[in-house]
Amino acid sequence: MKTVPPTCPEPQTGPQYWRSLDQLADTPEFREWLEKEFPHGAAELADAPNRRQFVKIMSASFLLAGLGLTGCRRPEEKIMPFGRAVPGYVHGVPQYYATAMPARRSAIPLVVRSHDGRPTKIEGNPQHPASNGSTDQFAQASILNLYDPDRATQFKKDGKRASREDVATGLGELAAAARANGGTGLAFLLERGGSPSRDRVIAEVKKALPNARWFVHEPVDFDIHREAATLAFGKPVAPVFHYDKAKVIVSLDCDFIGGEEETYINVRRYAQGRRVTGPNSSMSRLYAVEALFTLTGANADHRLRVAPSAVLNVAAQLAAKVLGRGQTASLVSSLGSLTGAKVADEKWISECANDLLDEHHHGNVLVVAGHRQPLAVHLLAHAMNVALGAVGKTVTFQTLEADGFGKIQDLAAQLDSGSVETLVLVGGNPAYTAPADVNWAQAAAKAKNTVRLGYYEDESFNAKGWHLPQAHFLESWGDARTADGTLVPVQPLIAPLFDAMTELELLARIGGLAKTNPHDIVRETFNGLAGSEENAWRKFLHDGFLAGSAAPAVNATFDTAAVARVLGAAQAAPSAAGSLEVVFHRSYAMDDGRFNNNGWLQETPDPITKLVWDNAVLVSPATAEKLGLGKLGSSKTRDTYKDATGGSNMTPEAKKGQFHNQVVKVTVGGRSVTGPVWIVPGMADNVAGLALGYGREKTGRVGTAQKGGPVGFNAYKLRTSQHPHFAGGATISATGQTHQLASTQEHGVMEGRPIVREANLEQYRKHPDFAKNMDLDSPGHTAHIDMDPAKPGLPKRIYKAPPLTGLHQWGMTIDLTACVGCTACQVACQSENNIPIVGHEQVTKGREMSWMRLDRYFAGDVNNPQVAFQPMLCQHCENAPCESVCPVNATVHDEEGLNLMAYNRCVGTRYCSNNCPYKVRRFNYFDYNRRPLSDLYKSAIDPRNETNGQWEFWRWFKDPSTGSKPKDEWDLMHLAKNPNVSVRMRGVMEKCTFCLQRIEEAKIAQKVKAGPSDDVRVPDGAIKTACQQACPAEAIVFGDISDPDSRVSQMKKLERNYTVLGYLDTRTRNTYLARIRNPNPKMPDYLETTAVQDEYYRKSGSSPFEPHGGHGPAKASAAADHGKGGH
């Protein structure tokens, strides 16, 4: 079933080939050859540049682009419609361009794949010094925003469409007026940004308009890290945390793995500090003090749950034990009132302090404070780092340019006073995100002129004044500095799809600057930083960063006095007993609300709650019980280890598999919102977590619930400028209503099954092979079954097996020690493989289509459970249960060990899914790709069903290749798809393919490169699956297992390697590396055996740490007689 490969592109050995052209251009040999081959060409080569040479250079530059991960983008002016083909362009061969996704104060360096001129997949830039090519889930999903049909598409003046010329004129008039009075009455409200060009333009505008006022509003702001460091070290510095170098990490409500900035770097560093390659590996230890159950808490070795306001007390108590020496000793006295109340187990704090102070890892420790915590906590963290000698080792500092912007509440006050005539809103959505005590809508209406640059016509859209659609970063020229200070370009891959303008252009136009073209602005900035040489600029765009531009670490001296001053002024939290606190947190899916209309993210489950398409009032089980808000579901059929988890399945009680949860009213300071309750085991008691970013009143079709109204509730309504992160004195009352929540995982515990296998580091050192001891007896251990002559130790198969004779044998490992559960892989998979979204209602029916799920299991104490994550995808069984039951041969095996799915052949019996023990196959119950989610249940033959203006059946009859989605959605959806992956229709089963398209692409490239030679084996590491590519923790390794030196083969040789449900003799190609935890035996919450392991032990009655029945050939003879008593 081979398809004829498309015409081969020019070999990807391009660089050598073309380099030699350059080099050889003047050698006699080359000329001789050229004379022989192309007499004309030779004549032309000597001439001055002409058309033919131009074509050559163009194709050469395209080949460079085609090398992958590289790209020189022509200036925006030269972007041609794709109808006029680019010389040398080969259809079907994607190009890759380096760019970056701007973040709040930095950017994520990216390489973006483009097919036929349309960007289709975002990946991290692996050559960037601070990135290993990974991204976070937001970057992966941001490409969908480009193709969002609901984005603002027209320049508007007073609600009416305006042309680009009108905009230029209008802004020109504005600029002229502002120049005339030096910018009096002009106010800018910006988002945070990390672009040197923006800084430069702002500086120039400030020069031109000295009276203009500047404000910044960032609803989820991480600037406190810089603010605290600046204060603590007496000069403007930004801290950089090196989680990889720390042996002990204490997080004070700092969700550096999930909710803070630069998580993709943090996760990578954290995972590096915990990489286990053998029993002698060392691991860092993570202590987390937090209120919510965050990803960081889920990964912590020890977790202390306290109310958010009590983190300060814990920090102070910890500091009191740590700050005993050096310059920070004097601070102990200023801790007095802060350490006051006893809010947590003192032993926990003192043992944690002892671990920090342990001489074994002097200096290699790190205390970090989260952005939700007040300044005092950050200062205490810095003080502890100083006292522990961590500064310069695990914490370094970069110089920071002070910006001096005002806050939104000041702007609102000035608007109210009438001193602002012209309000310029650059990005952001203040009408939605402004603090609740600021009546933004009313204030903003007082400005005479409004100019708004916004991606959506959202809550902040103002019918009067200018509304300018903001260009997506893939359509814009810009630049940024990544977290390490490296300069990266933001270069467009596509001309703006609609009317759009960039931030740089808007600011330059309003400032009346000479240069308003963003490309020129960026170039000028670059020239200023790296010289005006053309090659340097080209290399910058090609590499996606300016080498060596990382900010150097600067020395910083701790300013004890300043810190003491702040600490002295800080107040201890009021006695928290009984008071209910709410925490406003950044959503793992919506961020601060900017991704509200992004379907991929709406359908990406929250890593802890597994909720999609909603936020909820998160409470602990004890609090829920106290307030009568429901309870956790019970786990039936579990009697042998009820004492382990109290018989709870750790998810809220479901009725018939559905979560119809109580809707409650949360009131803080006289303001209230209503939302459904979700019980999270392990949350701090008397705390309610409210995710931001939901409840958008004016958003697109995705952010609008299927039955009308917004998706989720708006927690901003409770958030004041006084208490932006958490607030006490809240009340929760039941409303008597219920709301159905969609969760992708209904059962929260593993029921003692050896699916995720865990051990503590000490146990692992003693019993490195514990994971294999947890295998159930497989048929291979049964004497009466004949053995497979080809596969020693495995039983003979019933059916003739497909010959696994391919040159490559693909396999994968997933390191559960490294995986932090961040969900970037899931979104990457969705983007790469054209996976549709299905909507809230379908998820409640369990019909989500994700090929990869992140299973989250709780274990242990309901009040403080341990969490295990497991990415679950098609295991590519060699002995695949799905294949033998498909009646039409739609799922088959290839000779390279891949379990293939021929969508065209599938008739949809779903038997394969039933027989898949991992349940990783997903069925298209409806035409998710073609029909609007609101119309899924509307029959095509129903004449009343007029979608898109015509009867669906008639539409289908006329042209079956179209869909009934609204035209704008349909057109844009087309652009977003990866052309190398079939888009599946209804009635078809689908599943993970190990990114077959990437495998084939690499194989073809290698064959082309090999030419007549036999060197067709794809080198190790040349193929990265989408999930692997995105994984910041490098937990996923894919490669050729027939090559003993490949990374994946090395991983599979590790003792921790195991197969899930291997006893079924599925012979999976994907295996897992058992999870190792590193708890401190002295801690009060130390578990000698991890909770997961304990559950297993109770259930099976056998311990993986005792010899009992061997599996490996080495043990088989001696231990086999023992049998497996417990099973």
Binding site: E746, M750, V888, N914
Partner: protein, 475 residues
């Protein structure tokens, strides 16, 4: 045409009363009476009750057609299926109908080979029931697939792509098993009908009836030659059908047994399914015939003894099924596979406990009442119990299919099935289709094999005091 007992030509002592078997046709009904009574059901004006039954059945059938049209034009998602429960009511109903379709061939073939003469009163109706039930059953695999219009890919048709069905898949075996079963059952049924169609032809009073019955009677003229060929062919077909009775449900059970889910992967399935099928088949036969014998005044042909015997079969097979339920649990415990044990614990005590216990009570506990003769001979009791058996057997399939899928290996992936209105109405629609077909059958075809019943009347037995070929006697 009544035969008054005449003085015997040959003087044979009648056996003592306590040894005498209850005759298969009661009240010493004459052969002519038998013909009149049975053929009479199909003649004359249709009675009111028939219209009252047919119209709702047909409307129900139309609802079913609408549901299927909606399903096919919209997507399988209109049913309540999900991940992980990718089969629920669709396959439950498929297996349920197939099981019902079991009794017909069992009665007509196996009982024929075993010389169980009482079969003659019920075999025709049971066979018709089989055919209609298999039609209902066959509908489900066809419509439950995601792309119905490509369902023919399951047939081994040589094609340009060189792709064949996958013969390792039990679903593929199903295609052959069910289609073979249907074909053979249909042939068997039709062949048995031929002499009776000739009777109907001969009794016809309108030209249309005469023509239509005549066409299908294939020129039958009751000649000895016809009878002798007929009997041979009947015996051969009975021999052919007998293994099918065992194979079809064994193969249906392979859909589950060949998979590897805890709760499905069990070697006991084939015999257990066959027993269950016979059980449910007899349940349905009783459900249909108990009221019909009264309504159509056929009590003398389908006697209490017939019902009693069928109840005994039901009791036997129900008990076998009960044994299988117990054995499944024992093996789950004894086999030592924790996943299997969990699956069975879940069945009995998990969120679907009600379905499991409905099944146990309907299939194992209630049929035990058939130990008592009173329950076997009280028509009302039999009717109620037969309905219970039908319900129980539906639950059995539901328990096996849906609850197994709801919880198997990966706890992260456990789910729950809730039927939608389309699920429910599609199911009711197949009942409507079944009832419509059955009502049409009983109205237009003799629902009891006239010729065969005559063969088992006391007077047909030459050794019987009343029987024997006598000069002037006739069939």
């Amino acid at each position: 045409m009544s035969h008054a007992p005449t003085s015997t030509a040959v003087n044979i002592q009648a056996p003592p009363a306590e040894l005498e078997r209850e005759p298969l046709v009661a009240n010493q009904r004459s052969l002519g009476w038998v013909t009149d009574r049975i053929a009479g059901v199909c003649e004359g004006k249709a009675p009111l009750w028939w219209w009252c039954a047919l119209i709702p059945s047909f409307l129900l059938f139309l609802v079913g057609v609408t549901c299927v049209a909606y399903l096919i034009s919209t997507g399988v998602g209109v049913w309540g299926l999900n991940h992980p429960i990718a089969w629920a009511w669709d396959i439950t109903n498929f297996v349920w109908w197939i099981g019902i379709g079991h009794a017909g061939t069992l009665i007509s073939a196996i009982l024929f080979l075993l010389r169980q003469k009482w079969r003659t009163a019920v075999n025709r109706a049971a066979e018709a029931m089989t055919i209609f039930a298999v039609m209902c059953a066959g509908l489900y695999p066809l419509i439950h697939v995601g792309r119905t219009w490509l369902g023919w890919w399951l047939l081994p048709i040589p094609n340009a792509n060189g792709i064949w069905p996958q013969f390792r898949s039990p679903l593929e075996w199903d295609v052959f098993a069910v289609s073979t079963y249907f074909t053979v059952s249909l042939l068997f049924w039709y062949m048995g009908l031929v002499p009776d169609l000739a009777v109907m032809r001969d009794r016809a009073k309108t030209w249309t009836r005469k023509f239509l019955y005549g066409v299908f009677a294939l020129g039958w003229n009751f000649s000895n030659r016809h009878w002798s060929n007929y009997e041979k062919a009947y015996l051969l077909l009975a021999g052919l059908s007998t293994p099918l009775v065992l194979s079809v449900h064994s193969i249906v059970s392979f859909d589950f047994a060949v998979s590897q889910l805890p709760g499905w992967h069990t070697t006991i399935f084939p015999p257990y399914f066959v027993a269950g099928a016979v059980f449910s088949g007899f349940g349905m036969v009783l459900t249909l015939l108990v009221p019909l014998r009264t309504i159509c005044k056929l009590e003398d042909i389908i006697t209490v003894r017939h019902v009693d015997l069928m109840c005994k079969v039901t009791l036997t097979t129900g008990t076998i099924v009960g044994y299988a339920y117990g054995m499944e649990f024992f093996i789950a415990y004894y086999g030592g596979n924790p996943y299997e044990l969990e699956a069975f614990k879940y069945r009995a005590t998990g969120t679907y406990w009600w379905a499991y216990w409905a099944m146990i009570s309907c299939n194992v506990i209630f049929p035990q009442l058939f130990w008592f003769k009173w329950f076997r001979t009280n028509m009302f009791a039999v009717f109620v119990l037969s309905i219970i058996v039908n319900i129980g057997m539906w639950f059995e399939r539901f328990v096996i299919i849906a609850t197994t899928l709801a919880r198997e290996f990966m706890p992260s992936n456990w789910g729950y099935f809730i039927p939608t209105w389309v699920d429910i109405w599609t199911y009711l629609g197949t009942m409507g289709m079944f009832m419509t077909l059955f009502l049409l059958f009983m109205r237009y075809l003799p629902m009891i094999a006239i010729c065969e019943v005559k063969g088992v009347t006391p007077q047909a037995d030459p050794h019987h005091p009343l029987g024997g070929a006598k000069p002037g006697g006739h069939h």
